[in-house]
Symmetry: none
Subunit: 295 residues, 2 copies
């Protein structure tokens, strides 16, 4: 495909399905496309012209008036064609790779509404654990690594996190607490700002009927301890993805030593580093976390 002007009007008529007459009229009356000319005055259309004409033809066929849309830019026309054809079938995607790919594409172009829509649909038609393991997790990892490699920018990472956060929040609320009275506190230690792992396990806990107190990222040990004891929670879940090993170990040790004996601690995340010989149970696999929660 070049931007060479190479098609004459009869050829374009065949390619687009419009008559030569119509082509000339659309040019003269509405300036829909203005082809170059040969020295003798013959019209010469480019590939882009043909594409545009096809678009216009399609839109006119669905009811738009040529006079109203002839002057609009190509991007606008494409958008109109895209939004017009969709209402029939909102395809529920259950094929994880494709979902991931489409969400990544949306994030790359900062089209967060689109990303949200795809994810929301997928979330409702998949097993929650599967969804977390097969979609949310991998996407976060991919955005993270591509960001480090410089292929994506910080905005993409932020936007993606925002979408996921909102999504997980909404999903969490779909599972109302049952009266089992099992309470869990979910948090992230001091200086750890990555909350998405925490959100994922919080959602798992909610799914299993726990009453979840989600505290968000970056909390000093004493605050976490206070929350656990004040609410008489039986379980504390921590997520660490970005701390230095010694920092992780220090914080977790501080939390553990101050917690009442009967409280269990479940920790996970890429950078987790727990002191040995402690009651802190380290668990990276979401499925196993889930098993622990359903016990």
């Amino acid at each position: 495909m070049t931007d060479e002007a190479k098609y004459r009007v009869g050829m374009v008529a065949k390619m687009t399905g419009l008559s030569t007459h119509t082509l000339r009229m659309w040019e003269k009356r509405y300036g829909a496309v203005v082809p170059k000319r040969t020295e003798a005055g013959g019209r010469l259309y480019t590939d882009a012209d043909v594409g545009r004409l096809r678009l216009l033809h399609k839109l006119v066929g669905t009811g738009h008036s040529i006079g109203g849309i002839a002057k609009l830019p190509d991007a606008e026309l494409r958008h109109m064609a895209a939004t017009l054809s969709t209402p029939s079938k909102p395809p529920t995607l259950t094929h994880f790779p494709e979902i991931r790919q489409r969400v990544m594409a949306a994030v790359e172009h900062l089209r967060i509404e689109e990303a949200e829509q795809i994810l929301a649909r997928a979330a409702l038609s998949a097993e929650p654990t599967e969804f977390l393991k097969g979609v949310v997790g991998p996407i976060l990892v991919e955005v993270g690594t591509r960001w480090e490699r410089g292929e994506l920018r910080m905005v993409h990472e932020h936007a993606c996190s925002t979408v996921m956060r909102g999504l997980l929040f909404s999903l969490m609320r779909l599972y109302p607490t049952n009266g089992s009275g099992r309470r869990v506190v979910v948090a992230t230690p001091a200086n750890e700002n990555h909350e998405l792992g925490a959100l994922m396990v919080a959602m798992l806990a909610a799914m299993h009927g726990w009453s979840v107190l989600y505290l968000g990222p970056n909390l000093p040990a004493e605050e976490i301890v206070y929350a656990v004891t004040d609410t008489e929670a039986q379980l504390l879940m921590l997520s660490v993805t970005n701390l230095k090993p010694e920092e992780s170990a220090r914080e977790i040790a501080a939390i553990e030593s101050a917690l009442p004996d009967q409280v269990s601690i479940l920790a996970g995340g890429r950078a987790i580093n727990a002191p040995p010989n402690s009651r802190v149970q380290v668990q990276q696999d979401l499925a196993l976390v889930e098993a622990a929660l359903s016990r």
Copy 2:
């Protein structure tokens, strides 16, 4: 997407489900939408017009009378559609002080589910702006000051922020974008971690039909600039509540100098500090922010 007028009545009829007759009557009798005209007098509707008509159609379908709602501003219609409640006649006599008090009590005891419930109910029965100004804002301020005074702990502040964040996210999603094509980016400059102000204005923008790209807290100037230019947004909204004056001024100046001229900047928040003689418009009052958004 542009705000160009490009649809003729027949197409609009197809898109909205209303008859051409009805469209003309709604215009003549109630001024529900007043489309531009071609030179010859033909009606030309914009995407925003279509969005508004869809809203009106939906509301009429649920029992509202067209005469009563035709003149209401878009934001009002969106709120009504979102809550499917009464036509704004009863000025919502929810008693804000009591709501605040009950939420505060719930937060104090870390009963976040209770807080969530109270807030969600109040949010749906109140005018969004009023709700933000009368409930969300004051509660955040109160939690902040009581924390500084040592009456509350960091966990309370975190838990409360988490609740509000989730709430605002959900509320934002109640107002789907119409095709008006007005895009706004909402963010918080580097080192500013308080995102709730940003979330509040993001929600206001969504209510007014803007397509909102919410980037969350703590973004360097160049990232914000990239997002704005990449999405061709017309407006950037910034919130600063916790930076030092010189830091605020530096970041904002950096952003402003790198942004294309046609992008407006609206900034607010306790610690905002904008360079003088700039196009940065500082606005602390939510009602005035809203006015700017509906222009």
